[in-house]
Symmetry: C3
Subunit: 148 residues, 3 copies
């Protein structure tokens, strides 16, 4: 933990010049954003070896009214949607939650600004605290960063 | 919010004539079904600009005993499974939850009736209330429908 | 219910000889592992007709620092990550939760042992209890196993 899972409409998987988003680069930017967040004691919130972003275009989808209102408004009916969900461990402060969320949402504004201006699109960022009843972490990644 | 995410076995991604489901059309039908639900005051429960359905066939899967019991029963061992999960905001009444669930499940009965009769398949519909600790919604879709 | 959903980096979808994992076989092994778990009264915990595993490689992803630390350590920068999440019904004992989790994690150790030794990789197993506000299960699979 933590991880960020992105579910999105596949009409965003196009070259940027054609109105798409470079999702691989966005994943990297969001991962870097998560790693940049610091808590009230100025410590890095998320361990470097345990932070990851996974993005999934849907194979099939339906959004809103299917396009009629966008067509009527002259914005086109090719609606897009992106859902970003962070799952992080329990016990962090509300301040940390807000910092993480606002950091990710700043990324959204930077990366989706042109999209918001020219097409109907929704981008949601939510953070959940996990409430798992069992948790096992196996990692050969963490040791790369925990060399104290 | 809300959204409906569908996780399913890829053996359903075939032409309907070959025993598959038209998942794109099903997404549209489920989205329309969600938009049709009304609360106790006869107001639309889900905002048109914020309702979406995303469907994901698994790349790899295993279901139940892998096929032996279905083969033995003469129904074939090509089991299928569909998991439909709605995430909606907190604070709706139990009546609304039931209306949403029953509306979606009526869609399931309509679309999967032939499947239930001729193959081993499970279709589950569940609704979760989100308990997010951070929530940011960015949208150029909502304004198309909020023109009061 | 229950189901196990696996989200993972697509760099594991290679032949085993090339450093990959046979994900279809792993799904089967994890499904069998779930079916093998027994409760305090020695009853099978999960119904055979309701147990399933679905695995999803991400289309785009970012893990940790992107590879620099692994390269520097001579382990390579091709980090992998696997997230396994079980969702099961409420009301099971802590003993059952632990048995399910440990059974799945034993599978992880068996299947990913070589990975842990030779590359930076994280594999997390978590179990959630569902807290759904609506639940409808439709199945022509269960009757194959409930013939009492």
């Amino acid at each position: 933990m933590p991880h960020l899972v992105i579910l999105y409409t596949p009409n965003l998987d196009k070259p940027v010049a054609d109105g798409g988003i470079d999702m691989s680069a966005l994943c990297r930017a969001l991962c870097d954003a998560m790693l940049s967040v610091r808590d009230e004691q100025d410590r890095q919130v998320f361990p470097t070896g345990g932070t990851r972003v996974l993005a999934y275009p849907a194979a099939h989808y339906a959004v809103s009214d299917g396009g009629a209102a966008g067509e009527a408004a002259g914005l086109g009916g090719d609606y897009a949607f992106v859902y970003m969900n962070v799952r992080m461990g329990q016990g962090r402060s509300a301040v940390v939650h807000r910092r993480v969320g606002e950091t990710l949402n700043a990324c959204v504004h930077e990366w989706f600004g042109a999209q918001f201006r020219c097409r109907p699109i929704g981008v949601t960022v939510q953070i959940d605290e996990g409430h798992e009843v069992f948790d096992a972490k196996n990692s050969s990644l963490h040791p790369l960063f925990n060399k104290t």
